[in-house]
Symmetry: C2
Subunit: 231 residues, 2 copies
DNA sequence: AGTCTTAGTGTAAATCTTCAACTAAGTTAG
DNA sequence: CTAACTTAGTTGAAGATTTACACTAAGACT
């Protein structure tokens, strides 16, 4: 039939991940040092070939890479976009399907030391990490950051970066960090109540030298709640 | 190195398009009849292999397919999502990068008869076309319809389905068709003014047996304007 | 017991929506 | 020639929502 039935005409297919978490410096992304050519020794987003014998589908491939690099199995995971071109990989026409993963602070704390090999959390500054990245990963990361910033405006996204239990003040503070602006407390609480994605953890209170605060958890740790309006 | 340098381990890579336009019956999508196995004779979204010798990148591949099927070169085009799995194509592990294209009514009118081969506009009913489609195309189409319906709420999307010149009343009517509900005239006009994606065509008026209406065009026929709030 | 701090609620003023009426500008019928 | 008709485009009052900020609540610390 056509020449494209021949494997030599197939593009390379990879899955790459922008894995985010909160560090003291704010939103951070996991980068790995490449062991092999091309860009050997350079920083890149974690990723890898699709293993057609092992991965049932694209999302399974993304989860496999995530588990290999972080040990985390059930994060928030969403497909961002795909890029593909003749030039992005010197080895040939290549496609990358990019996923965004959000790790809860608990996941990060547990695996602190167990980070696979040459991996490192880098804080986001502006539209990137102030580092040049392999392939077109700087551009992919920029898109991922844009998507995250955009979704903070109208979704429960920040809830996926906190520990499993948190207070409303802590949640508001994450929204403020990611948005880069202060929010009104009563308006914030009204939105959270309307969006209906939190449930109080009965009896659990955050105690300090002040009035104790009710702790909450996400009703669903895998899905995003969308607001009717911007926050 | 790894076994994946061997082409036999690469997935199949295709680009598929959900091409929409407005017909008298409302939003419609272009379907083609498959000439070859698998699903020979069945309806499918237009698409095809990525030609690594010919296509510079994914979007170029999408534009090539679009031009082959419709003759249109500069539509509104946006990437929807990618699917990929072991099962979706009987020939093997396969990836599809799906694009949404919106054709202006002018484009459709010009090419009415020149539709390539066995292609046909089918009106959208509910979440599909009331027809079973090849591969997982019914599911891809459902996602595309969902994306369109969602974007009508907060973007200039409907403007890309009209002729190049149109009145505000015509635009409002498209919003109403796609949303399935009536909108308030003054609120609608206020949103359009705020979103600032239209410009009046000086001197051009729609004339009928009533007060003439100012005609407008999109400031940018390739990009979408996003509203601050829902319409 | 009083002070301090953060949690959580209440409220008045400002803004935005909704609904519907009103004016504008043409064509058509008589 | 003029009145009736139709759709374009604007205006405004009533109601709903948002915003800004102050207030009350509940604990720890001195």
């Amino acid at each position: 039939m056509t020449s494209h039935d021949n494997d030599a005409f197939k593009p390379i297919a990879t899955v790459d991940l922008a894995i985010f978490s909160l560090s003291p410096a704010g939103l951070s992304v996991l980068l790995v040092r490449r062991a092999n050519a091309p860009f050997s020794g350079g920083w890149a987003l974690p990723g890898g070939w699709i293993h057609i014998d092992e991965d049932a589908d694209l999302e399974a491939a993304a989860r496999r890479v995530l588990k290999e690099k972080t040990g985390v199995e059930t994060p928030y995971l969403e497909q961002l976009q795909s890029t593909g071109s003749r030039n992005r990989d010197p080895r040939g026409w290549s496609i990358s399907i990019v996923y965004i993963a959000l790790l809860s602070a608990d996941d990060v704390a547990e695996r602190q030391d167990a980070l696979a090999g040459e991996a490192e959390w880098r804080p986001i500054e502006g539209e990137g990490v102030g580092l040049s990245l392999a392939f077109d990963h700087a551009s992919l990361l920029k898109e991922a950051i844009g998507r995250i910033r955009s979704k903070v405006e109208y979704s429960s996204l920040p809830g996926h970066l906190l520990p499993v239990h948190f207070t409303l003040s802590e949640l508001q503070s994450v929204y403020e960090t990611l948005l880069g602006r202060k929010l009104d407390k009563s308006a914030f609480r009204k939105r959270m109540a309307e969006a209906d994605f939190l449930e109080p953890v009965e009896g659990e209170m955050r105690r300090a030298s002040n009035r104790p605060a009710q702790m909450f958890r996400l009703k669903d740790a895998q899905s995003l709640a969308l607001f009717d309006r911007r926050i």
